[in-house]
Amino acid sequence: MALTQPKIDATEARLAALAVPSGASWMVDARSDAVARVRAMGLPARRDEYWRYTRPDSLIQTEAPQAALFEGEETPVFGGFDRLKVVFVDGVFDPEASDALEGENLSIERLSDVAQADIHWAKDLFGVLETNGQTPVERPLAALNTAFATDGVVIRATGVVSKPVSLIYIHKSETSDAMLHHVIKVDDGAELTILENGPAAARFNKVMEIDVADNAGFHHIRAQGRDHERRAVTHMFARLGTQSTFKSFTLTVNGKMTRNECVIELTGDDAIAHVAGSALGDGDFHHDDTVFITHDAERCESRQVFKKVLRNGATGVFQGKILVKQGAQKTDGYQISQSLLLDDDSQFYAKPELEIYADDVICSHGSTTGAIDEEAMFYLRARGVPHGIATDLLTLAFLAEAVDEIENQELADEISNRLEGWLTRRRAG
């Protein structure tokens, strides 16, 4: 379809403000292909069907809108965990603040170093999984990232990695506009846990490409919080081999604009993909979970569990799709998106989709929007639990199904404690 002139203009204006970084020839090729993809697709516009509930304007405009730095006492999440810290400040790797990039069964390199190498395994993945994820739905901001992101990490797990790799995104400049691109490969039988936290920048565009080989396991727990004015668009592109496992959980609190896209292709039989998220929005908060899971092998299982609690005019969006290709028999697909609206000003938009071309599958989806259950509220109060605490208890109960998707109990507890802390700090009365 031909692009409209305003769309072409907006895209060209954005491209003109960015410079394609130098590198080895394969990298330069990958980047110029990505630029071509951006040109062909055009950057998202308000009238695009995929951006119906989320305004892309602030994510595509040339200058990043300013974002004040977080002023709060809370210590960053995951602080008490034994982990390998990889720190980025406003989107730039900080070797001083990071741990040594090494570990058992693990290799970690900076993308900027990898980009200079004439031969590197990342060549088969960088921009490749992103490209695969562009059909059937276009994701131009991910292509933009492939073209221009200079920093990020390239991680390979060759066996079971016991210590989580913790990507920490620090925001220091009110005008920072950061792009990070990570490439992750989990080899046959290997296991890796990635943690992510921090506001990253005033505006953040992040892509993570993940190749999970046969029998491999990938776990991902992310906490997006703190800064109120930050904006972010993130993409995860994952390809799953036979009997592999992919589990991702995201906690989002605060943030003027967050769009998290997750694109998963189950390409090997008996693979498992779980994606979950809990979001708490208060006031000027817009949060969008967009998920696309493709079943292209037999007996795979996928679960999408997304819960949002919204108040004071906060907005939540969920677009989730399960695509079952021909031949993907015995697929087990499940999707639930729910919102708890704590007042009349908040809004939740849900677009659940199923598209199935195999005849022997189990797929279900559901979406609900509701207020606090008055019966449960009275029951709690009649036992002496004050209204504010009762609201928090019922809110946490609502979010629990998503948090339960985190396999590691200690990390699940850490997330629960964060949710509780956030609620307690804002408790009315």
Partner: protein, 251 residues
Amino acid sequence: MLEIKGLKVKLEEEDKQILKGVDLTVEAGKVHAIMGPNGSGKSTLSYVLSGRDGYEVTDGTASLDGEDLLDMEAEDRAAAGLFLAFQYPVEIPGVGNMTFLRTAVNAQRKARGEEEMSAGEFLKVVRAKAKTLKIDADMLKRPVNVGFSGGEKKRNEILQMAMLEPRMCILDETDSGLDVDAMKLVSEGVNALRSEGRGFLVITHYQRLLDHIKPDVVHIMADGRIIKTGGPELALEVEQNGYADILAEMA
């Protein structure tokens, strides 16, 4: 202890008078029973006293130990010592029974300016009390009332009562949905809590519960009023003759 005077209540949503002037005093250490036909206002009385939304008090007063109940939020009434055992205990998915109990106990203690119970101390007490009510560890761990049988729900109500140690207990049709064994267990739980300083108001449709929880005073409620008050023999009279005779006698 519980003093209700000329209480008149209507539904907020529709202009319907439910209680038309209830007078009732429950003394400390006593068990009062309220019996009456369906729709007489028994459950409404329990809800109005415990602070449920949707009712409008148009006249009269209700106080506990001299404190005006009707002026308080539901949670403050609970902290003041009022407890309602629900006819239909509410299921709360996602909230563990233990968390619920501990939150309630400590919220009430805090409201009264008392020290909160430590996790260890709480666990010890709750286990002992649960045991006498035949509530196992699994029921304590599960979400509040979720997947509980009718009998388990009612036992859970009594466990809450035992943990919260209220001054004034209102039991709303606690016998409904119970088989004979469950009724015995629940009644034993209630009887164990009978004491000098504690009052009970037992709302029931049938006399059979009163075989187990022996009342000191029996009231008959009809059409939003207490129309007759007597001793335990009044309950037996209802059992034998139904409400028709009493209603006819008062008419």
